[in-house]
């Protein structure tokens, strides 16, 4: 944040770093012990953590590459759940009419999820072309705060357009796959939840491979590190920005569609996923994609522990308090790096 020449400006935490890690280590040990004590905590953590990882990775990517703190990320989740519901409803009816069509039963849920991801990507590209590009062309002054407000406007617009055009009621399903629950670690979990975990993990693996191994992925990371340098190397920034926002929006929409059986679609459906993704991203350090994936599981564990040992009502309060505490000691996030992006200057 500042050069260390001014002693008062040295973050309080850096002077007590060993102490911080000690506290964190004890906290982690307590959590793991509590989780092992009750295996269902572990299962819940992995299922929800996978989805928060999808949300948070997209949020972190957009911040890292475009320096946009996306307040409308939850609305992509909402759009995803809406598309998922619209596509899956007729398929569900078809399944009910032909109870013997095994293939339909198995692959039935996927078209909705794929459609959600595609629509999400289209919305993301649209936002970049219609809003962020004109703003970028006009002025990049105070970019981070301005885009934060701009996305707040987008969020209000989408939520209330949904309320106005689609309606204020819940649109959800009870389950995607109508099969008996499976046993993991002595805990019975529904196939839907298991599948959500599989979808989340495979998407994250593909996404990471894409960022690490392909030319375009490298270009995206190059822009995140040094925009001017990337441009000099011949990277078309506009294309990368479009792709980044599209990709991030697709991930959020996919999360929305896959979690339809837990989070029915209604205008405020995006609120909780939004601030959970933000907890994760702030905890992990803004713009850190890999950290966000790890952080998602930490936040999921905090949530699950709160639900099990304190009460559902406290699920917003205790994790928040814990995150604020951590940030007191490590202001740049758990996995915050010393490398500074352009936005920090």
């Amino acid at each position: 944040m500042t050069p260390a020449t001014n002693l008062r400006a040295v973050p309080f935490a850096r002077r007590y770093l060993t102490f911080t890690w000690l506290v964190l280590g004890v906290a982690a040990a307590v959590m793991v012990a509590a989780a092992l004590f009750q295996p269902s905590i572990l299962v819940d953590t992995f299922v929800t953590g996978g989805m928060w990882a999808l949300m948070a990775a997209g949020l972190a990517l957009v911040f890292g590459v475009m320096n946009i703190p996306n307040f409308a990320h939850g609305e992509l989740f909402l759009i995803g759940s809406l598309v998922g519901f619209t596509v899956f409803s007729p398929i569900q009816e078809a399944i009910l009419e032909n109870p013997d069509a095994t293939l339909l039963k198995v692959i039935g849920p996927f078209p909705g999820m794929i459609a959600a991801a595609l629509v999400g990507a289209a919305v993301g590209v649209g936002l970049e072309v219609l809003l962020f590009r004109p703003l970028r062309r006009r002025s990049r002054e105070q970019w981070v705060m301005n885009t934060f407000l701009l996305t707040a406007g987008v969020s209000v617009l989408i939520v209330n357009a949904d309320r106005l055009l689609i309606g204020n009621d819940f649109r959800g399903i009870t389950r995607y796959w109508d099969v008996r629950p499976i046993q993991v670690l002595g805990v019975s979990i529904s196939v839907d939840r298991a599948m959500v975990f599989v979808i989340a993990i495979s998407t994250i693996v593909v996404f990471s491979l894409f960022l690490q191994r392909t030319r375009i992925g490298r270009a995206i990371r190059a822009v995140a590190q040094d925009e001017a340098g990337a441009q000099m190397a011949g990277i078309d920034l506009n294309r990368i920005f479009m792709l980044t926002l599209g990709l991030s929006s697709a991930l959020a929409a996919l999360a929305g569609a896959s979690l339809l059986f837990m989070f029915p679609s209604f205008p405020d459906a995006g609120v909780q996923p939004l601030y959970l993704a933000w907890y994760v991203v702030i905890l992990a350090g803004l713009g850190n994609v890999q950290g966000a994936i790890a952080g998602a599981f930490i936040v999921a564990l905090l949530q699950t522990l709160t639900v099990y040992y304190v009460g559902v009502g406290w699920v917003d309060v205790l994790p928040t308090a814990f995150i604020i505490l951590i940030l007191l000691f490590k202001p740049s996030g758990l996995f915050g790096s010393a490398v500074k992006g352009i936005w920090e200057q």
Partner: protein
Amino acid sequence: MTSEPVTTFRSRLVARSVAQRRRALAAAVLAVALVLPFVPPFDSQDYQRWLVGAALMAAMATAFDFTAGYINIVNFGFAAFVGLGGYTSGLLAVELGISPWIGIFAGAVVAGFVGLLTGMLTLRLRGIYAAVMAWFVGLAVMGLVRNLPDITRGSLGLNVPLLLATSDNLPYYYVILAMLLVTLAVLMLVIRSHIGLAFRAIGQNVQAARASGINPTRYLVLNFTLACAFAGWLGGFYAHYYGILTPDVMLTSHTVEVLAVAYIGGRGSLWGPAIIAFPLSIGVEALRTQFATLPGLHLVLYGLLLIAVMVYWPGGAAGLLRSIEARLVRRRADRTEENRAA
């Protein structure tokens, strides 16, 4: 409040006449606000309720702009500070029988204190962290209020005694108008002092401000605390005017509403948000009653306006008025030039 560098005698005269005209305009706006509840259709209870809501929104947007427009940090937990002030004052009145007139100041102190703590913890970080952390603190406070039904009655809602002995809207309008004027006057005085200069320096470039010997954190915390205290004070009025408090007062969507009004009014002007809040929130109420079957319509409009302002029209209404004024001044200067030449 930026003025052109005053160099010549004539430009100084122009500047003085501009200041005079501004003062006259402000007096005219105030006069309109004072007589508005007697002008049809505003002389009925329903419309006067809208006016009270508009003045409250104006005051909140002004306090919001004090942080957002000058030190460029958006307090995303603003609604929670409003609610905190409201609950403090309300609980004091319900549990201890303390007069709301004292309670609303206690609410301001509590909200200011929580704002001070939040500010001290977050404002040494970068702006975006402070904004998001204020949001988290707001969410946590809302969760606390919701989860302590023994004290706050949670989602059932807390019934609070009224500020005045009457439920007639007219006296409330003058109370909140006075509160709006106090908010505006105090914050403008701060902005015009050397403290305000420091705020703007920090808002524009923290490194440069630090190089000029300003301790950014101290000023940021001062600004944040003051704005939160005003939010709590206004929250007290909210509580004792509507008579019922639920945790929903603290919803982020309410922060976004205030934020939209502040930015549409024009960031960094204080008076812009205060003035634009009246047509905006009265128009919104009119829409809401006209199209009661279309929920969310007014918020769609807020969203569209906020987007348009952010992308195409960063000065908001205040920026528009300023550019009109600048054009008038220029035209007049040209005319005197021509006269002299003739």
